[in-house]
Amino acid sequence: MIQTVSTISLVLLAISLVFCAYRAITGPTMPDRVIAVDTIGTIFISIIGVFSIKLNQPHYFDSALIIAILSFSGTVALGKFLIKGECFDRDID
């Protein structure tokens, strides 16, 4: 029961992954692509969640957490970059 359900949800997630990838590649404006990459990261976490259920292996949550952390910092970096052209500014009073 669990196995079949997790396979179905994996397929669904894979499809949504394809949509995001499409948006990442075509994406008219730059922020679209940034958001696309961010969502790919988040979908990634759900894939890992379902996958660990399927395999009954709780070890993958570390990578899931790391993806969450780091896709966030990626998005923030890209955001700042889009606005200011450089991410690290020296000093703002």
Partner: protein, 112 residues
């Protein structure tokens, strides 16, 4: 009983994610796309993680705290990420789509 609950959670979660990516695909401008994506995907992912939390608490060796941490972390970071990106989009002059009606942010904006 737990099995059914977990499978329902997984299915609903992945459906949420699917719906959000469809929305991501179909909406016309960046701002509405962001609505769809950030909110729905985060909800979907949290549901799936809840499912895995339940699954491992019943099958595996007790509740592993990581899933809770992930859910917490996602709740914190998703909106902030979206906020930064929308600000970036707005300041780089991404136009609102034709149908959008009002833009309050324009008045009290000062160019960075």
């Amino acid at each position: 009983m737990i099995e059914i609950l977990i499978s329902i959670l997984i299915l609903v979660g992945s459906l949420f994610v699917l719906v959000s990516s469809i929305g991501f695909l179909r909406f016309r401008d960046i701002y509405s796309r962001m609505h769809a994506v950030t909110k729905a995907t985060t909800a979907g992912v949290c549901l799936t993680l809840m499912a895995s939390l339940l699954y491992f608490s019943s099958h595996g060796n007790g509740i592993n705290g990581k899933t809770v941490v992930i859910i917490l972390f996602l709740f914190i970071t998703a909106p902030v990420g979206a906020h930064v990106i929308s600000k970036a989009a707005y300041f780089t002059g991404v136009p609102l789509c034709r149908e959008s009606v009002v833009d309050e942010f324009k008045e009290h904006i000062k160019k960075p």
